[in-house]
Symmetry: C2
Subunit: 355 residues, 2 copies
């Protein structure tokens, strides 16, 4: 489906996305980057400025004619809430358009102990508390990230690991009804890849409770046929390796867990590097961001070892350059990524909003 409205939204998102990526940019450069005419950019910029989303922020030195007017995002023109729900509790963030965290709530509880209804009520109350001071129409929506499997499209949870009793709960609809705001649901790892803007072909690799990956390919979040892509940890790396909960032997996740239990962080990082190298080769990625508790405990070890293994494994490392980075959002990556789910609808890297 595509009509004139969709066309406009698409181009508007493309312009906004460029402004965010460039921090500060002129109309002329926007036209060049998006392929739109100067005229179209002018109209779009005018509309965005009227809505308060962007504002002029200076002039370039003249090159012999009228100087270019630089444009900048007005970060606090709109807000989104990002929530991470896991088996030990929840993290909620209030995030502005620039992806900066303005406020945070971390709660430790046992969702397995409470009924889903109670937990939903609690979540809704926490969101309300975060946005209490803000005009309602300045809040774009709420993103929620959970462990999978779940159905991103309908917003329904399946047998979420560590959360029995949540199977079949229509989290998105329930929360949206309570709040009167658009809600998006996604897997924690998929959310993680949206915690910051990045390369058009990139992955977020998360070594926490489990081992998963979020994928952006060709500038689009990839969720797969049943919106459960990213099961990265159960690739068999050594058939003689330790048994994994998934039923196989020598899964990457089981190997990493075993190495971590031995206290051998370097070995863990190298194993992870093997998996990342496989991923990069298969999908020809330009950037891999690492996150999760284990990585945050020894960030430099992971960055160094994973980079080294990837460089060694790729056939032509000079040509296929890959940025290996540690997420700068720390323990907030997933919740920030959940916010990114909603921001993606504005900047053109995610799905369309409903509700």
């Amino acid at each position: 489906m595509a009509n004139l409205t969709a066309l406009r939204d698409h181009n508007t998102a493309a312009v906004l996305g460029r402004i965010r990526a460039a921090d500060e940019i002129s109309r002329v450069e926007l036209a060049l980057a998006t392929g739109l005419t100067a005229q179209a950019v002018s109209k779009i910029v005018q509309r965005l400025a009227a809505e308060g989303l962007i504002a002029p922020s200076g002039l370039t030195p003249s090159t012999g004619g009228k100087p270019r007017t630089l444009l900048r995002l007005v970060p606090q023109a709109r807000w989104v809430v990002g929530a991470q729900l896991h088996r030990h509790g929840s993290t909620l963030l209030l995030v502005d358009l620039a992806g900066r965290i303005a406020d945070a709530t971390t709660t430790r509880f046992d969702p397995a102990g409470a009924t889903p209804r109670q937990t939903l009520d609690l979540l809704a109350a926490q969101v309300e508390a975060l946005i209490a001071e803000l005009p309602r129409d300045r809040v774009l929506g709420v993103g929620v990230a959970c462990p999978g499997p779940l159905d991103q499209h309908t917003g329904v949870l399946h047998q979420v690991t560590g959360l029995p009793g949540w199977d079949g709960i229509p989290l998105r609809a329930e929360l949206s009804a309570r709040l009167g705001l658009p809600v998006l649901l996604d897997k924690d790892t998929t959310a993680g890849v949206l915690s910051r803007p990045g390369a058009a072909d990139r992955a977020f690799v998360y070594l926490g409770d489990g081992l998963g990956a979020g994928l952006v390919l060709g500038g689009r979040v990839q969720r797969g046929a049943r919106t459960n892509a990213g099961e990265f940890g159960h690739q068999v790396l050594d058939p003689r390796g330790p048994r994994c909960a998934c039923g196989n032997n020598g899964c990457l996740e089981a190997l990493c867990r075993a190495a971590l239990a031995d206290g051998d962080v370097g070995r863990t990082a190298e194993l992870l590097g093997e998996g990342v190298a496989n991923l990069v080769r298969l999908l020809d990625l330009a950037q891999v961001v690492l996150g999760g508790d284990a990585v945050l405990a020894d960030p430099e070890v992971f960055r160094g070892r994973v980079s080294a293994v990837v460089r060694e494994r790729l056939p032509d490392p000079g040509w296929q350059e890959v940025g290996i980075e540690i997420s700068d959002a720390g323990e907030h990556v997933v919740a920030l990524g959940a916010a990114g789910l909603v921001l993606g609808t504005v900047f053109g890297e995610g799905a369309a909003l409903e509700g």
Copy 2:
């Protein structure tokens, strides 16, 4: 970039794609499937009929009112040429809109022996011979598939395996200049995934000279940051396994090759199944098509064993159903897929045509 022309082309391709997928379909169903209004569908259908691409093919039984008019592709309204270039020769196919092969040329030669210029001249002559009887404006273009690495975007070859001296040759531009037709270049495995329409999330796994994969994710061909995605064969499956040409030990490709050399087809298929299971889990695929010499020699063994391993490895095979199929195009898969590169521009699954 997106303007009104792009919008129209997008919607036109969506409509044509549905007609191809359904074989026979009414305007009403098209409107439902594409999300366009009945009016928009009518206009698009009218234009397509005027161009001769589709034609009415019958009526549905009435449900109390005017019966729906069924529409069908006119397969021979346009033609494309698909070419596979490998180190032992070339295969060229003349293909209609329905993806049916009307004519074929297979040549065995040694591209490594001839200069690139000579080989290009030969290819151009072979294309001319295939389309000699057809009005030039009925030929949409030529798709060429080669082993990688190459730059799909610019149409330039890199150090193609088995073809020394081709590094840096701008194959697309050269061939396009000789023929006066649009030319698209892509990796053989990426082409293969386009040999037939299929699920929005699918892979083509090719076990021939090497072991590679072509990916369609979210309805789009995925080529990666440097258009060389699909390196599927060099994931390490057993660190104590045999040495591979890529420098690592126990690559899937090396393991498969070793099993094949032992004459153990069943074992080869099971190893391939492990790789396919990893792929399906990572990308949440709905369909995997197998092809290549080794697979074609024992298709049923591969279909059976790979299916069995995938079913065994997936956490919930009932929910995550995956179709494992053997390509019905046989030895022509890659050349047919090369034709599919061009057809994809018409039916909306590929890149835009230029030149």
